[in-house]
């Protein structure tokens, strides 16, 4: 069968609403787009564990200590599930888990802007769980209908666990919101700190070529701006209900246009942060991943050697 007719058949399957599986033939472009998306998603989970991880040893009660450990562990678990999906997509290209993780360190794969940022207070741990996870949940829930079967399946599991994360994050910030002046101030500072990053998180307003192709391939079904508007719908009223302010004087809902008007984040700044790992914490967190992966290669080598006795030198 020629590639042209294969492609046609593939597109017909997509239009019938069929799911594509790892062993199916797929256009190279589809594989590349998926791999880029899922690889970044996986790596963002793993790098996303790091800002919250800073607060694991400092969680202020035994219950909070256990809960934040479980929450960060879930993020690593999501990274595991997603890496497995990415690995199967990358296998025909001769890449394995080792390579996909190394790509973080060499800068060949990017991770979400939010995980390049500082989390200097306990309230940041709360706001990450509440708003960053909130944004991530909207993103991930929108991908549940993706045309790639293995991705759809792990997303189902991930979203189920994210529902715990939502409650976890809200519980931390609700305690702070009901707390002392200092606790409320800490919470407000954290919201101020994260707001612009959160808007950037959903990506540019204009539909890029890659985004358009992903929609055509039914890898995703919603645009960045649709998701960002969803985020406003869900979270602006809740933030305000706590008596917190949002650091954007332009922010309002336009009844006529039926959408939120907001000040654009600094696209250039955040673009550089993600593309060039230039955020305030990028280097430090990549160094941690380098330690985990590169500096501890000896551990994996030792185990792998053991399981393959014929390679014992």
């Amino acid at each position: 069968m020629g590639d042209a007719s294969r492609f046609e058949r593939f597109m017909e399957r997509l239009h019938r609403g069929e799911k594509i599986e790892a062993t199916d033939w797929m256009p190279d472009e589809y594989r590349q787009l998926l791999l880029k998306l899922i690889h970044m998603h996986a790596v963002s989970e793993i790098m996303g564990a790091l800002p919250e991880k800073e607060w694991v040893p400092k969680a202020p009660t035994l219950k909070r200590k256990l809960a934040i450990m479980a929450k960060v562990q879930d993020e690593m678990g999501h990274g595991q599930l997603l890496l497995r999906v990415a690995e199967d997509l990358a296998a025909p290209l001769g890449k394995t888990r080792e390579d996909l993780v190394t790509d973080v360190i060499t800068g060949r794969v990017k991770f979400h802007n939010v995980f390049h940022m500082e989390a200097p207070t306990w309230a940041d741990a709360g706001v990450i769980g509440w708003l960053v996870d909130g944004a991530a949940i909207i993103n991930q829930a929108a991908l549940l209908d993706t045309s790639y079967g293995p991705y759809a399946r792990v997303l189902k599991r991930i979203c189920a666990e994210e529902s715990f994360h939502m409650q976890h994050g809200e519980n931390i910030i609700l305690a702070l919101a009901r707390g002392t002046e200092e606790q409320r101030a800490m919470l407000q500072d954290a919201v101020n700190r994260w707001w612009e990053s959160l808007l950037f998180f959903f990506g540019p307003v204009e539909v890029t070529d890659a985004a358009r192709r992903m929609i055509e391939y039914k890898i995703r079904t919603k645009t960045n701006e649709e998701l960002r508007q969803q985020f406003f719908n869900k979270y602006v009223p809740r933030i305000r209900s706590l008596g917190l302010t949002i650091p954007d004087p332009e922010l309002r809902y336009d009844e006529q246009e039926k959408r939120w008007i907001y000040t654009q984040p600094d696209w250039k700044k955040f673009g550089e942060i993600v593309r060039e790992n230039k955020g305030p914490k990028s280097r430090e967190r990549i160094a941690l991943r380098r330690f985990a992966h590169m500096d501890q290669r000896w551990v994996r080598a030792a185990l792998a050697r053991y399981s393959e006795p014929e390679f014992v030198g």
């Binding site: 793993i46 564990a49 790091l50 991880k53 607060w55 694991v56 040893p57 400092k58 969680a59 202020p60 009660t61 035994l62 219950k63 909070r64 200590k65 256990l66 450990m69 479980a70 960060v72 562990q73 690593m76 678990g77 990274g79 595991q80 890496l83 888990r97 993780v101 306990w122 305690a175 009901r178 707390g179 002392t180 200092e182 606790q183 941690l288 330690f291 985990a292 992966h293 501890q296 290669r297 000896w298 551990v299 994996r300 080598a301 030792a302 185990l303 050697r305 053991y306 014992v312």
Partner: protein, 264 residues
């Protein structure tokens, strides 16, 4: 003699003081080692292990919370206050549990040493005269089974791999050996604890059993046997600790100390 609940223990001040001390030993060991384990979050040598290791860390902190709840029943002390605000001289954990993690080899060796010890200790508590403790320990032992299996596998596999891995394992064993004996100490209340059957083994017997368990594993793993366990410089069970514990407590209390009266 059986002491069925906290109220009954409260009628005997010496018994109560001994149980209190032992509960702190148990809670502080588990809290320290669970805290140290949690420092590996996001940094384990592979992703699957990262997740598995974190579950173990959570189990340990959960066990600490359980022991601190028994302590609250006994003398009304708030578990969070006990966990976060006690001074290092009032902590009863073995120094082994408070030490910095070191590399992955040291982490595995410490965990395995500790888990074998904890298995022997909890075995000695199964028939404890303090019934609330005996009951809890039965549950905790079920969770510890996976830990022991997991670290025994890691311990033997890394050692048997030879090369850099075995070198690191030997180094880790050498570094940790001087602190092992501190685990078996039962602190200032040992005689009371053993005489009133709160625990069925004394420190010498726990040590003997630990050495007997460990020797064949060393042989199997191809590790050098470091000889008899030296006396420890600091007996954590009596409140003598290294600077590592002070640093751990500083970190652990950083948020809550901002306002100890606030709700977090």
């Amino acid at each position: 003699m059986q002491v069925k609940h906290a109220e009954q223990a409260q009628t005997n001040p010496r018994y109560k003081a001994a149980v209190r001390d032992l509960l702190l030993q148990l809670a502080d060991d588990e809290l320290c080692i669970g805290h140290r384990d949690s420092e590996w979050l996001g940094l384990a040598p592979d992703i699957e292990e990262d997740v598995a290791f974190s579950s173990i860390a959570q189990d340990e902190v959960g066990h600490a919370a359980f022991y601190l709840n028994l302590l609250r029943d006994l003398d009304g002390e708030d578990p969070d206050a006990a966990a976060f605000f006690r001074k290092s001289r009032d902590r009863r954990n073995a120094v082994l549990a408070e030490r910095l993690n070191g590399d992955w080899a040291e982490t595995i060796v410490r965990r395995y040493f500790y888990d074998v010890f904890d298995e022997i200790r909890t075995e000695a508590l199964r028939e404890s005269s303090y019934v609330p403790l005996a009951r809890g320990v039965a549950k905790i032992r079920r969770e510890e089974r996976y830990h022991l299996m997991h670290f025994q596998l890691w311990f033997t596999r890394l050692s048997a791999a030879g090369g850099e891995a075995r070198e690191r394992m030997n180094r880790a064993v050498e570094g940790l050996w001087p602190e092992v004996k501190g685990c078996f100490s039962l602190g200032g209340w040992e005689r009371q604890l053993v005489a009133s059957a709160v625990i069925s083994l004394d420190s010498n017997e726990m040590e003997r059993r630990w050495l007997n368990r460990m020797k064949p594993v060393f042989a199997q793993a191809g590790l050098q046997w470091p000889g008899p366990l030296p006396m420890v410089n600091q007996d954590g069970r009596c409140g003598a600790h290294s600077s590592h514990l002070e640093e751990l407590l500083q970190t652990m209390g950083e948020v809550v100390r901002q306002d100890p009266a606030a709700r977090w």
